[in-house]
């Protein structure tokens, strides 16, 4: 099935063969590492710039505005201009801050989001590392960013930052559970944590359709909990501009602030990509059971297009949340997680295990 989808491992394989002809195997590995790193850096920067631009346009549409429209056609270069401004801005040293931790925090946050990108399958055969514990790995590295946020809040020597960081700590640690449990639902269906296996298992239909209502519940819980985990509205308590001015990154300026900002957007991309991969089939085209002709037509759309379309669909939903809902209060946030989402997820897992046991899913 889906044999006519272009496999990117052909491309990477031919690059590898070409390099092997030029140099010894040690150098080949080194060159390939550098190449992959460069590709990811480029992807990271481009996606970051595009997401910021997209967010500004989406929120403008929701708010009856036009959005950026002065720099370049339709304001396309606006985010690049902003980036240049941030690069040129002075890095203000904070008196009585802890300089080492203060400077380290933005890097921890951005490295965590960078690490998670390595395990995502972007298209058929296009995946940097195919861990056999892929879901677990992405969860683990993306939750490391809370360490960076806590360090940022603690080392800034600002009371607003500290409150923001503490809020963020409580929030991320709580919502991690729901994200994990909702992903576990699909892991139970698939029987594997390997992201490529999860995608392959959706060749005859995406899990959100195949998994009956429990999979859909998992998807909704995943959306809510992952929005909270990446500190976006309506769960942006860690930043809460009307309460804490800017929360944990109040004291950061210039490129260090840009790192936090970029990491926030890339985290949004990562959770959306993970959601798309696990629930909506990743790069797998829209297939319906045994409809060979229909499935064949769907295969003509390149797999990368499927992946990014699904990812941006989830990103748009998350943006839609942010620009229409008011912010929750910290106790309401924790109530939502511990009293509603977590019990529902636990019950859902049991239900799914039962379904899988009885073999009721497709």
């Amino acid at each position: 099935m889906s044999s006519n989808i272009y496999d990117f491992s052909k491309l990477t394989g031919s690059v590898h063969a070409w390099l092997s002809g030029l140099m010894s195997s040690g150098w080949v590995t080194f060159t390939e590492l550098v190449l992959v790193g460069l590709v990811f850096l480029l992807l990271y920067a481009l996606l970051g710039l595009f997401l910021v631009y997209l967010e500004r346009k989406v929120c403008a549409i929701i708010q009856n505005r036009i959005g950026p429209n002065r720099v370049g056609k339709w304001g396309i270069i606006q985010t690049i201009a902003d980036l240049v401004k941030l690069l040129l801005k002075e890095l203000i040293p904070i008196r009585k801050s802890d300089p080492l931790l203060f400077n380290l925090a933005p890097f921890i946050v951005i490295i965590c989001s960078f690490l998670a990108m390595a395990a995502l399958p972007y298209a058929k055969g296009l995946q940097a590392i195919d861990f056999n514990i892929g879901v677990f790995y992405v969860m683990a590295v993306s939750s490391l960013s809370v360490v960076g946020i806590l360090i940022a809040g603690w080392s800034s020597n600002s009371k607003y930052s500290l409150i923001g960081a503490m809020r963020s700590g409580a929030q991320i640690v709580s919502y991690e559970l729901s994200v994990g449990l909702s992903l576990l639902a699909i892991v139970v269906f698939t029987g594997s944590m390997q992201l490529s296996t999860i995608v392959e298992s959706q060749a005859n239909g995406w899990w959100i359709f195949k998994g009956h209502i429990p999979a859909f519940i998992s998807f909704v819980i995943f959306l809510i909990a992952s929005t909270a985990e990446i500190n976006r509205g309506p769960f942006d308590l860690a930043e809460a501009e009307s309460e804490l001015t800017a929360g944990f990154h109040t004291e950061y300026s210039g490129i260090k602030f840009a790192f936090f900002f970029l990491a926030e957007y890339m985290n949004m991309f990562i959770v959306s990509a993970l959601g798309a991969t696990v629930f909506l089939g990743g790069w797998m085209p829209f297939h319906i059971g045994n409809w060979e002709g229909f499935n064949h037509i769907m295969d003509f759309i390149p797999s990368a297009v499927w992946f990014f379309t699904k990812t941006f669909f989830i990103i748009l939903i998350i943006m839609w949340f942010k620009w229409t809902f008011p912010r929750l209060r910290i106790d309401q946030l924790l109530t939502l997680e511990w009293k509603y989402l977590l019990p529902i997820s636990l019950f859902n897992i049991v239900l799914i295990a039962f379904i899988v046991l009885m073999g009721w899913h497709f």
Binding site: C59, T245, P326, L328, R329
Partner: protein, 375 residues
């Protein structure tokens, strides 16, 4: 500033976790400083510090004529500029026993209500923003723009009107005045339900607003909290009803009272007041009588020696003007009882014990305009 001096300034116990909200803070809507003592996320007590935008308006008034004072009152509660102007005008007219033409009274009342609407719209924008719903800001401003356009057409300025003068108006309104107001009423009757759809019905919003910032009727009266904030605590304090001025005695309208006493009650009062303002405008806009736009006044206004007092209902509550005159062209003493000053100081009473996010919601629901507090 050395460590010891900083310690001295802070009131309370040394282990208290004190943060200063303001003077530069996104949700104090101006240069207000709230010294907030926290226990975790909970507010233990708070201490408002005022004076960051004190310009000495009351003292300045003693050196200038009554016509000039009008222009200073704009700068107190800039969102109720017209009501502030009217209060001073009415004091002078009372003192001189000038009967202003009916046309002036009608136009003043219409402008009062338009101003109240514009102010409530801006409050709605800002209140949503305080709670993190950023889209409200643009919805509110979109509609406020229509009112400001009406103002601009008639008297050239959008925010600080200074359109009143003792005895009447500076000049007549623009010929389009009535038509544009009618257009606006039609437009805004369609748009106002959008406000409810976007914010009022939202479950997160309701959870954030309900049961927060309980202000009993006794507290409201005790602190002199007037306007929509007071009426949210069932405190009947609408000057338009108690001591009608302009043509408020000729129109049918309800004083909105809510018994909820919380942030949501204050929210509902303002939302209902927008509907009331629209209905007042509808009753008045077709009935503006023809006539002069000002009574006959002497070029130099001198108030007879004595004390004069007048109060109006601004968008935020009761504004009282007290003038002591010694017979000169300047007042001997001028005193403004501004609504926001009283509304601010109830904060410690009603915000203590709630979370810091609730503090923002409560200060938003009191609809404070900081230059009005300091004057």
């Amino acid at each position: 500033m050395s460590e010891e001096i900083i310690q001295d300034v802070i009131i309370g116990e040394s282990e208290d976790y004190i943060i200063n909200l303001g003077p530069q803070h996104p949700s104090t809507h101006g240069v207000l400083r709230l010294e907030v003592c926290l226990k975790g996320e909970t507010v233990k007590y708070l201490n408002p510090h005022v004076g960051y935008i004190h310009r000495g308006i009351e003292k300045m008034c003693e050196a200038i004529t009554y016509q000039q004072i009008i222009h200073l009152t704009d700068r107190m509660d800039y969102l109720s500029a017209h009501m502030n102007n009217e209060a001073v005008c009415m004091v002078v007219e009372d003192a001189l026993q000038v009967e202003v033409p009916e046309r002036v009274k009608y136009i003043r009342t219409i402008l009062d209500e338009l101003n109240r609407l514009a102010s409530h719209q801006l409050w709605w924008c800002a209140f949503g923003m305080d709670l993190g719903a950023l889209t409200t800001f643009f919805y509110g401003l979109r509609d406020r723009e229509h009112i400001l356009d009406i103002f601009e057409e008639s008297f050239g300025s959008r925010l600080l009107h200074s359109f009143n003068t003792p005895g009447g108006l500076m000049h007549d309104v623009h010929p389009n005045f009535q038509k544009r107001i009618k257009d606006f009423i039609k437009y805004f009757r369609e748009k106002l339900p959008e406000y409810d759809q976007l914010l009022t019905g939202n479950i997160i919003f309701q959870n954030r607003a309900k049961g927060i910032g309980y202000m009993s009727k006794e507290t409201a009266i005790g602190y002199g909290v007037t306007g929509p904030s007071g009426r949210g605590s069932n405190f009947s304090c609408d000057i338009r009803k108690i001591a009608p001025y302009g043509v408020y005695d000729k129109v049918q309208f309800n004083e909105i009272l809510e018994t909820g006493c919380d942030t949501f009650a204050r929210y509902k009062v303002r939302m209902a007041e927008m509907w009331e303002s629209l209905s007042i405008l509808e009753q008045l806009v077709d009935n503006i009588p023809e006539g002069d736009f000002t009574a006959k006044m002497k070029p130099v206004v001198k108030l007879p020696a004595g004390e004069y007092f007048r109060r109006v209902e601004t968008a935020r509550g009761e504004l009282a003007v007290y003038v002591v005159s010694d017979g000169n062209k300047n007042p001997y003493r001028m005193r403004f009882r501004t609504p926001n000053f009283s509304n601010l100081f109830v904060m410690n009473e009603i915000a203590s014990g709630y979370k810091i996010a609730d503090l923002i919601a409560i200060s938003g629901s009191l609809d404070l305009v900081i230059p009005d507090i300091d004057r």
